[in-house]
Symmetry: C2
């Protein structure tokens, strides 16, 4: 077709930076960020981010350089989500639970040139740089983020003027010309996969993917304009499931919390009339089990998006009892956070509550930003039958799948084999196309030749009234290969519950072979995003050795 | 950054086809299209469109070929919005008010290979092909769209089996492999600019632009999932302002209407619980002035998006009195429909109603899909001061601006001069960044060296209680150059209103020089999308000649 052109009038690389610029104009007077007594408008946030971007470039930051951060959910972490890309750089937001050893490994791998660090984690960074200095001559520049809500400014911690966040920002140029991506597939963020396995990989997000996933997140979570979003999910986790950029797209208000505790969650909701929040099932569980005097009635409908781990139906049920509207999504770091959502069908409203929550615990159907989500046999790449029973691997393709693993061509190629992203999760597909996770490939228990979904066993254990938290792993077994072993944390005051109680309860609700054969009462090891670290539990179960079978027990 | 790849796992050309496929899965049982007794679900719509796409390819349709349509807002027109792109072709939906002569010109220019035509317009197409046959040896294939809601199937009109829409579709292959765009900038639609000027141009839309504008339209018009959308704006007008594809993105229900009459609008709203509709101010005016017995109370909040011409504040006011929530957008065919939206600020709620509607009549701020909208001096390309007074040309850039004018490199280059799309509209910018149109460049009246915005004069005339419709153009004047001349249609029963009444009314509400000097009571000539054809009125005013000035009258 002749007569057509591509020029700056009709083509602009997609980038979330556009959301900030538009909100500064359209929602200029609207509150953008709230943290304690601190409040900014969208107009102010654009100015602050522009100044910060200009200041970042002073550290010889060029297009594609990595700028790291070790900061909780406070305004600085939010602002860096725009300022770093606006400096042409790539944001690498680290998990604040990292220790110095792991941080040094990731700093080295990322080649970060600058690291912004919250005062709480300065020692961890110093430790990491000390380790790093043994093998590297160039160390990242530290910029300290103080926090006047928490510690007095001007304490002995104050660094030299231009190496402290607010001072650096204040000296920035508000007329700085924003560096836009040259190509929309240029990287915007680097996110290391968090610790359910022991080998983190650097997942690279593009400006295009971030733009599209932000809009999709807004759409599938039914966010109108001017939402009020409470920050519970860490911004360092898939860039806050892209809500960082999504809230900007809709001119919303970000309510920041340094510490995620039930009391502050309920009072923030009441004070700011929160409309949306997100959190892993473990956080919802904490909310449910918080003391009565910390709970406050909700002032309006609050949508809570949960994901990051399969939510036990009981957790969904109890959140809805508290008045929250739960939306359940599923995804991975590699898919910018949620990739599927359990879109609710009106006819399900008529089901009894326990049926409803069981359905809502399904991982559902693809997000608006994706092209296809399927359950396939990884050997043949054929779709499994949509019978709700046949297990296969969850596979995903579309624009909101990562660019790849940084400096790991081999892992990238494996992940994208046959043109699909291989999630490593096992699941089934129902006749209506909704998927349900059964396990991580490596978590599934094989006992006497039968697959046992640890998620199914955990769901039953969670419905026991005394259980606060639970995880099931395989325990090596001389006879069966493996048998299910449950690690359980009981609620306060439930000291009389025994392992036999739990086992019998499971046998009442599950096929005999799926019920745990051993139960350990313990605090579960967690990642910072609330995921149980099953590899630690598997080691514990391994150390326990095989059950002793006098004669082959009935399964 | 090493280790990254682009492959089918993480890159898919953006196209609205994805919306249909997703809705067929996620909202499979939800009603997609309603027309009288006809009802389809999203699952059925995908199957029908796939079959239709396969059938279209039988006519030797290749990637990039044009498939035309001359069809009102009935299901066939909706389905072609997906089926034609799914055949790899470009949809050219013609204005159903075209006559044979104009249609023959456009058919020739578009090189359409196939034309789908509603039975009502078959004679027009036959006439056009007759004209075309004199200069061209290859004529487009006609496919007839019958309509069992309107005429008995099997009447003498029935063509040979495979040249009738439903028969053609029925023979299609439901397993047809959908042809996706090879590049997301490939064309999806061709829309001829409609008749406010006499030289139509072929505006080309891309799959990417259509995808992004559809999502932006959903977002700025506050559409949650499962909206119920009433089709009033013609689908042949900017592809229904991209609501064709946008409603699919949200799994909504399309309520089709062959004829846009107030009675059917009110009964459709009541019957289907419509949540959203769109229409030009002229249609809203028709709704407002419909007889009381045709009006029905609204069953719920109905958002009505208006645009296509500046809405007089009075029209907004009266629609809101009827219970509609008016969202005002502005755009052009070249911007896929609305490009700006008058985003409402909470503080405006406290203003008196006439102030509120005056503000809502502003064209507002950029749409989510765009990058920049500005008012510039076209000579210097400098932004005009944001003072609400200084006029300049509305200029636009971003991903939802057309690819260009088909086979008109010169017009494309002019439109995109200096990297901005030049709208040809004149406007001002307020201190808050909101823009307001003052006139089309060619409509502005220059009287004694003063610019007179015909939109401002029309707004005042519209607030006169006897006025149903009005348009102001310049009348040549020996002394002043031009003076304002008003063409007015009065409401039924208002026969006693005189030209002096109107002129005096305007002088009470406007500076003296802006008030019309001559008034003509007449039916206004309209385009099919409800725009007044000012070029016809200008000719009439020209034919009237100059006012006779005994002595220079006071301005």
């Amino acid at each position: 077709m002749e007569g057509l052109v591509r020029c700056s009038a009709n083509y602009v690389p997609l980038t979330p930076i556009s959301f900030l610029e538009r909100s500064a104009l359209v929602y200029g007077d609207q509150t953008s960020v709230v943290y304690g007594n601190i409040k900014y408008t969208w107009r102010e946030t654009l100015i602050r981010c522009t100044k910060l971007a200009s200041a970042i470039t002073q550290f010889a930051i060029c297009y594609g350089d990595v700028v790291a951060a070790l900061i909780p959910n406070i305004p600085a972490m939010y602002e860096l989500h725009f300022a770093v890309p606006m400096a042409g750089a790539v944001l690498c937001a680290f998990n604040i639970r990292l220790d110095s050893a792991m941080l040094s490994v990731l700093l080295k791998h990322s080649k970060a040139k600058v690291i912004f660090v919250d005062y709480q984690f300065l020692d961890v960074v110093h430790g990491a740089l000390h380790i790093l200095s043994k093998s590297s001559s160039s160390l990242p520049q530290i910029i300290l983020v103080l926090d006047e809500q928490s510690i007095p400014v001007g304490s002995e911690m104050s660094p030299s003027r231009n190496l402290e966040y607010e001072n650096l920002l204040a000296a920035g140029n508000p007329e700085f010309e924003i560096r836009r991506p040259k190509d929309e597939l240029d990287p915007i963020a680097l996110n290391y996969t968090s610790g359910t396995t022991s080998s983190p990989k650097g997942v690279v997000y593009s400006h295009r993917g971030a733009y599209l996933n932000s809009l999709a997140t807004v759409l599938v979570n039914e966010m109108l304009s001017r939402p009020v979003y409470l920050w519970i999910v860490p911004m360092f986790h898939c860039n806050g499931w892209c809500f960082t950029w999504g809230v900007a797209a809709q001119g919303g208000t970000n309510i920041c919390l340094r510490n995620v505790i039930a009391k502050d969650i309920f009072s923030s909701i009441a004070e700011h009339k929160v409309t949306h929040m997100s959190g892993a099932p473990a956080v919802l569980n904490m909310i449910i089990n918080s003391p009565v005097d910390e709970k406050k009635p909700l002032p309006n409908k609050v949508v809570v998006v949960t994901g990051g781990a399969p939510p036990p139906p009981q957790v969904i049920f109890k959140m809805e009892e508290l008045g929250f509207a739960v939306i359940h999504g599923y995804g991975l770091t590699e898919t910018y956070g949620p990739a599927t959502v359990c879109v609710w069908k009106p006819e399900w409203d008529a089901l009894p509550p326990n049926e409803r929550t069981k359905i809502k615990a399904r991982q559902g159907v693809l997000h608006t930003g994706l092209e296809e989500v399927d359950i396939k046999d990884p050997g043949t790449m054929k779709s499994v039958p949509a019978d709700g029973k046949t297990m296969g691997e969850v596979m995903i393709r579309g624009n909101t799948v990562m660019n790849g693993y940084l400096r790991d061509q081999k892992a990238t190629e494996e992940a994208f084999k046959d043109g699909w992203f291989h999630s490593g999760d096992l699941g089934v597909k129902y006749p209506d196309g909704y998927i349900e996770l059964k396990d991580r490939s490596k978590d599934i228990i094989i006992s006497g030749g039968e697959n046992i979904s640890t998620i199914e066993v955990e769901s039953v254990i969670f419905s026991h009234p005394a259980v606060l938290d639970a995880a099931v792993v395989g325990r090596p077994d001389d006879h069966w290969g493996e048998t299910p072993c449950a690690f359980i944390k009981l609620k306060d005051g439930c000291v009389n519950v025994t392992d036999a109680d739990i086992i019998n309860f499971c046998r009442d609700h599950l096929p005999h072979y799926m019920a745990p054969r051993s139960v350990v009462f313990v605090d579960l090891p967690k990642t910072s995003t609330g995921k149980t670290q099953k590899f630690i539990l598997r080691e514990k179960a391994k150390a326990m050795g095989s059950l002793i079978h006098k004669k082959p027990s009935k399964l």
